[in-house]
Point group: C2
Chain length 301, copies 2
């Protein structure tokens, strides 16, 4: 099977950990072992990953040094594709004993300049702050901020991914048996100008949405959205809470979920399942078990 596996933020950083190179590498080692299991089981694998904390960190580092020369979000996104892609590639190559080629490709993803997200930023990037500190920083740096749990964070536009222009290169590599890491952080957001040329834009694309688009464009058999929760739950947080083994697309869309991070995952899972593939949501460590429907929540058409 051709499998697209999207690594959630927790693959790189557990809540409360400092965002150091060491902590990212330690977490990626765990992810690499899990993903190596999919390759060893004989499947073709494409890996995507989030970059919310990392792109926020790079923005803060730039502002701390020379705020007047801050880099735009498309360039920072490209930097995170380098940073995170490298660590995943190296740890996965090591986990596979350098038996299989692994390649990390920079990936631009096309968005629409008229996407309403540019008027209403919603995507969290960077660290959490108390409300007062968030407001002070927002005022100083021109941020939009929004509540994340009981804390506050910077938010940036998250337009819908429309097309992956580099698809041809990706397909060439997959045909040759290469494991590909791509579309990191949801891809580098770009607009198409009237003359057909591409130019970067200040945004961060949701990595689950980009991964579902990628899986559709590749004609993948399965999309795995890997996170730190073992499944989707009915009545999450109540005594009657119950994990869900399987959902149809319609059930997934009508499910009453508490506010949080599972919404975008279920939407992406539904979108891909509707195009004929199988979507799985669950724990990073269970990647192969989710693919084989022994763990996690499966969404089918």
């Amino acid at each position: 099977m051709l499998v697209v596996a999207a690594l959630g933020g927790n693959a790189l950083l557990r809540r409360g950990e400092p965002l150091t190179a060491e902590s990212q590498r330690a977490n990626v080692k765990i992810a690499a072992q899990s993903l190596a299991g999919i390759v060893r089981a004989g499947h073709q694998l494409v890996i995507t990953h989030g970059n919310g904390p990392q792109v926020g960190l790079l923005a803060l580092q730039g502002a701390a040094y020379k705020p007047d020369e801050a880099y735009p979000l498309d360039v920072l996104g490209a930097e995170t594709e380098g940073m995170i892609g490298y660590i995943i590639e190296q740890e996965l190559e090591n986990a596979l004993d350098h038996d299989r080629p692994v390649a990390t490709l920079l990936t631009q993803v096309l968005v629409d300049k008229d996407d309403p997200a540019f008027r209403k930023p919603t995507k969290f990037v960077g660290p959490v702050y108390d409300r007062e500190e968030a407001e002070t920083r927002a005022k100083a740096a021109g941020w939009h901020i929004a509540q994340d749990g009981d804390k506050w964070r910077r938010v940036v536009p998250s337009p819908k991914p429309l097309e992956i222009p580099d698809m041809r290169v990706l397909q060439l590599l997959l045909e040759q048996g290469v494991v590909v890491i791509c579309a990191g952080g949801g891809g580098i957001p770009v607009l198409r100008r009237d003359d057909g040329s591409l130019i970067g834009v200040e945004a961060v694309i949701d990595k689950d949405a980009a991964s579902a688009l990628l899986a559709r464009q590749l004609g993948a058999d399965a999309l795995l959205l890997l996170t730190d929760v073992d499944a989707i739950y009915r009545d999450f947080g109540k005594d009657t809470a119950e994990s869900i083994h399987e959902l149809t697309v319609d059930e997934a869309r009508s499910l009453d979920l508490p506010a949080g991070s599972m919404g975008p995952k279920l939407e992406a899972a539904g979108n891909f399942a509707q195009s004929g593939g199988i979507s799985g949501i669950g724990r990073l460590e269970d990647a192969l078990a989710i693919l084989e429907r022994r763990a996690g929540t499966c969404v089918i058409n």
Copy 2:
């Protein structure tokens, strides 16, 4: 012909310019036009680039935000492959009217843990300072520093590149007609452990040396080392100064050059020419003319 073109620092930043995203993009646009000429003339093209100013900038940004959580040079190198590779890829795709696939590959490059460079850092990274400021910063951050012209700069180890483990993926892409951007900043420096696994190391590899290795490993026909000087000069800076059109490997090695940046270029050019290819050194804008031996300095065996 299969051509490896190495973009010097000036492709991204002219002396005295601020290292902003805008100035890098403006310079890369010029480079992209020149490189597109090589592709349009029917040649296969691999592009490499330097990262000295950029890796230094990222280190300074990190230190300005949280010095205790600074990222190691291998990770910063990977970030610059993302940042610079993205801008080159986008501008080259635009210059080629999106007629030809262009891919940017993260590239690890193997070095030796016993390389003497680890005991004697010589590679300049980051901005220039007056001596006093350089010494203050060196003391605070544990840098090594060295004189660069009449200013001072941070220096880091620059071990010799030995092997490019990702060569197989690169070759697959070239066979399919893809223009490849790789080994940015000389590649991400890695060591091989006793068990065969790879791990990053704190260093920055010379991009001309890495480009010569890459060209040899690929069996390329030509290596172009592109910079802001139109050729190698005999008696450079004197009244008798004269540009050199052609050098043999032996002549290149015995040439008496003033101290500066042409030494590593001539060494890389000689190393590649000795393996049977043609090396060219000259202005970025003259890429195709250098390849056709109408401009620059050519080194042959």
